[in-house]
């Protein structure tokens, strides 16, 4: 155990943990939204995420003609980021909607047992990730550094880069928008109504299928943005990263209380820093061990997660 190492690196471990956690949280929203409404774990959501990440890279490659060795700065970098976010969010939302329409809706119409949903979810996930695997020949894809990772400001001696700020700020903004959308808008009220009681909501004139599609679409938008932020942070994309991100984001959702939007944020950030502290304290080989041990222990005492409240029970 390296207690000294943990404390001397505490600030940086916290910053990078929060940054990673913000991305977990954005992806976790997709799991939480779908679970809140359908009581279904959308395993294909990890692939909705990599769809965003891949379309972002392709935007940079084909729209801007950049590769891993290009240097970009200023307005071009901003243009790259904004265009990638738009393209990635649209691509992810599209894939998420397609998954709902092809893999889930037909099963729902036929009142399939929950196990069938689980299998189609895993099936859809494998199909999409293998498609990317074949497309990229299972090789890692490099990309340019768009946002500087050099220290921009120091808070209490801890260097914080423009990339860190961008990631955390974008994630927070997306979440606030989503929170307002769900809690204040007409459609948001529809989503909450379907989450509470789908049949009654349908009797009240809510088009259930449309709402469910919207839920997938919203989760996809978030995952697309997360994909871009992941690229900014990690800088290399491989077809297999979705699997890991999916597990971590799902964990974050459960940690915060699945079906709970703010819980997803809390769970994501908590998971991110826990992982980093564990890596600092015991060595990186203990990262997943510690993170999941914390999850198990926490669920023992709070079986519904930290914030526990589900989407359906949010005050109308």
């Amino acid at each position: 155990m390296d207690i000294n190492g943990l404390f001397s690196n505490f600030g940086e471990l916290t910053t990078t943990g929060l940054t990673q956690g913000a991305i977990y949280a954005l992806v976790a929203l997709g799991y939480t939204l779908v679970y809140g409404v359908l009581r279904l774990i959308n395993f294909a959501h990890s692939e909705v995420f990599i769809t965003g990440a891949f379309f972002a890279v392709w935007t940079w490659q084909f729209l801007w003609g950049l590769n891993q060795d290009s240097t970009v700065s200023g307005l071009v970098a901003v243009g790259c980021l904004v265009s990638a976010m738009v393209v990635a969010a649209l691509a992810s939302a599209t894939i998420a909607s397609v998954v709902e329409m092809v893999a889930y809706r037909p099963l729902r119409k036929r009142h399939a047992p929950p196990l069938a949903f689980l299998i189609t979810a895993i099936g859809a996930s494998i199909v999409i990730s293998e498609a990317y695997a074949i497309l990229t020949r299972r090789r890692p894809t490099g990309m340019p550094t768009l946002v500087s990772t050099d220290p921009l400001i120091h808070i209490g001696g801890v260097p914080i880069s423009a990339a860190d700020l961008l990631i955390v700020a974008s994630a927070l903004i997306m979440m606030i928008i989503l929170d307002i959308f769900i809690n204040r808008s007409r459609i948001g009220r529809g989503i909450r109504a379907v989450a509470q009681d789908a049949n009654t909501a349908a009797l009240m004139g809510i088009n259930k299928d449309r709402i469910i599609l919207l839920v997938f679409l919203t989760g996809g938008l978030m995952a697309g943005i997360a994909g871009v932020l992941f690229n900014v942070r990690i800088g290399v994309l491989t077809y297999s990263v979705g699997f890991l991100m999916g597990i971590k984001a799902f964990t974050a959702a459960v940690l915060g209380g699945i079906g709970n939007l703010r819980g997803a944020l809390l769970g994501g950030l908590l998971l991110g820093v826990t992982e980093n502290y564990a890596s600092g304290l015991f060595g990186t080989q203990w990262k997943d061990f510690t993170a999941f041990a914390v999850l198990v222990v926490l669920l023992m005492f709070r079986p519904t997660g930290l914030l526990g409240e589900s989407l359906g029970r949010v005050r109308a």
Binding site: Q20, G235, E275, N276, S279, T284
Partner: protein, 385 residues
């Protein structure tokens, strides 16, 4: 769960492939006339999956050897069976069994990686099927009493110290950080480096390999605050590329030194040319340009690309097996005897084997390569002490 499912599906596909080639082989037997023809050799390694690049290099080397053999022996060609392990130890036993069940297979080039070797080699040893690996460098593979095991490269015991010697004598680094990916290969290499460097190693960390980790921020933080001049990474190119990119992004400019597993264009593609510049890669392989004869030209003519890491040793391993068939070897037992007593020239080195199946230690060459302008270029041969 998803990865396991994918592996199972992959396995089924490969089994089907093998079964179908086996069926074809059975058919060609009759036309070729009896027992003295229709023999096969197999290649065993990753052709898909996250570590496939090395396997593809090797398979292409073997293909070239078979192609050349068949040109000379058109009346009695040898068939190549490529077994795609995806580099996974889980799949290795079934694949090994497939090779064993096909009696026309007289020898195997591979398994390419150390992990899958440990899973597959006991089966080969029991079946008496010769396997010559062109790239599995874990030392303990030669110490298991597998009579069928041979390798045409040195082992990590020589590559690890060489990396250490390079860091100590050429880079003259006083403070070194050692990272490994917890694989048999990566951890083995890192342990040897630590032995040579002793107290110069001021920090260590272990990360997850096989594409299971993308965010290395905790490791990067440790390296950054350890203030080192060199970083040794024991593992494969995928993690190495990510690490290098994230280290450089965090302002760490210490030279990274890695083993042959990092020696792949994908390392530079993922890290980016600027970050990868100056990285030192040790290898139990001499540069392909150093290969004797027309190997490099022939390889390029067949595959359209330059030979990569271990293309030449895989070619040599295949050539040894093909020489056996040329000299009238008809059974696995005869092939085993033939390889054990082999003494001949290849394009990468001269080969004869020790009792354990290791290549002659005097013939082992370790080279340092350097990433320069986005290309991996030979730097120098590293002395053994």
């Amino acid at each position: 769960m998803r990865q396991r499912l994918a592996r199972v599906l992959g396995g089924v596909a490969v089994l089907a492939l093998v079964a179908s080639t086996a069926a074809c082989g059975g058919g060609s037997d009759d036309t070729a006339g009896g027992d003295s023809c229709g023999f096969k050799i197999a290649f065993f390694g990753a052709l898909t999956g996250s570590s496939a690049a090395l396997g593809i290099n090797e398979n292409n080397g073997v293909k070239l050897a078979v192609e050349q053999y068949n040109k000379e022996h058109a009346d009695c060609p040898v068939e190549l069976v490529s077994l795609d392990s995806q580099g996974s130890p889980d799949q290795a036993p079934q694949l090994a069994q497939k090779a064993i069940d096909d009696e026309k297979i007289l020898g195997v080039v591979g398994p390419a990686f150390s992990g899958e070797s440990e899973a597959a080699n006991p089966l080969f040893a029991e079946a008496g099927l010769v396997h010559i690996t062109a790239s599995a460098t874990r030392p303990s593979l030669a110490e298991q009493g597998w009579k069928t095991f041979f390798r045409v490269v040195g082992n990590d015991l020589s590559q690890g110290p060489a990396a250490g010697i390079y860091i100590r004598d050429v880079l003259k680094a006083e403070r070194v950080f050692v990272i490994d990916d917890q694989s048999a290969y990566g951890a083995g290499l890192a342990d040897e480096v630590k032995k040579v460097l002793g107290s110069r190693v001021v920090g260590t960390d272990k990360v997850q390999g096989e594409g299971k980790q993308a965010d290395f921020s905790a490791t990067v933080t440790k390296v950054k605050n350890a203030n080192v001049q060199a970083i040794f990474f024991g593992g494969y190119y995928q993690e190495a590329g990510l690490l290098r990119k994230q280290l450089t992004a965090a302002g760490v400019n210490a030279v990274m030194v890695g083993g042959d597993g990092v020696n792949d264009p994908a390392f530079i593609e993922s890290a980016g040319q600027a970050a990868a510049e100056g990285t030192i890669l040790t290898c139990l392989c001499a540069p392909a340009t150093e290969a004797r004869g027309t190997f490099a030209q022939d390889y390029k003519a067949l595959h359209g690309v330059d030979p990569g890491t271990y293309s030449d040793t895989a070619y040599d391993a295949a050539t040894i097996l093909l020489n056996g068939i040329k000299q009238g070897v008809k059974t696995r037992q005869e092939m085993l005897e033939f390889v054990r007593n082999y003494n001949g020239q290849g394009v990468a080195a001269n080969y004869r084997f020790t009792e354990n199946g290791e290549m002659d230690p005097a013939e082992v060459k370790i080279w340092a390569y350097k990433v320069k302008d986005g290309k991996v270029v030979p730097d120098r041969e590293i002395p053994k002490s």
